[in-house]
Symmetry: C2
Subunit: 107 residues, 2 copies
DNA sequence: CACATTCATAACTCGATGGTTATGAGTTAA
DNA sequence: TTAACTCATAACCATCGAGTTATGAATGTG
């Protein structure tokens, strides 16, 4: 299940979706109704956002009777973490180069 | 200069902008002309993207004669790293709880 | 000075997207 | 069975956003 980083970034770009994901991370599994309460948007809007988060692999759904329980899938953040890591690695690498350069200039 | 995480997420949501930022990270400082070559979009489009990246704090610009040199500002990724860290911390915390539970059940 | 180069901005188009209300499918309760 | 509840989907609307071309400002060059 390799969800493209593009889906990830796009899914997290929306504040409503980030808020939903954060609530699932911090408060644990929630039903759509619970998420809608306090979301400030309509229930269909919440459902659509959850659909997008699910497509990005960020949440899982579990049907119980007439409710759907959503939970965060934090592992899905891995590509994002990897990406920032790659970008920062080169930053540090360049820093190291600079240190080497300074050391050599110091001699 | 605390750039809002929202600006960050939105800036990185676009593939063209991520590509520009990646090039600046991996290849170092570049002029707009150099970035436009190989970007697959027009020069004004590149300029607009760079403007958005700059507003998010992800790049710096440096004017030299009639060219503008852009460079990556990797530090600006910090809020993003913090955010993923916070989301994952709770994941691990819950994992620890689960481990504790399993240990207790094991006895 | 006249001309070329480099980039940013303006004006515009068009598809994507986030929101809404209406409705239907599925499930529980009376 | 009828009614109520929970959620997802459909249909629609308005705005946003990423791209374009045209142009202008600033700088270098003949």
């Amino acid at each position: 299940m390799q969800h493209s980083p593009d889906l990830l970034f796009r899914a997290l770009a929306d504040p409503s979706r980030r808020a939903l994901f954060e609530r699932l991370c911090l408060e644990g599994e929630q039903t759509v109704g619970a998420l809608t309460a306090g979301a400030g948007i309509s229930q269909p809007a919440v459902s659509k956002h959850l659909g997008i988060l699910k497509q990005a692999g960020l949440v899982l759904d579990r049907h119980l009777g007439r409710q759907t329980h959503y939970s965060a899938q934090q592992r899905a953040l891995a590509p994002l973490i990897d990406w920032t890591g790659r970008m920062n690695r080169f930053w540090e690498a360049r820093f190291d180069d600079l240190e080497d350069l300074l050391k050599r200039m110091d001699q």
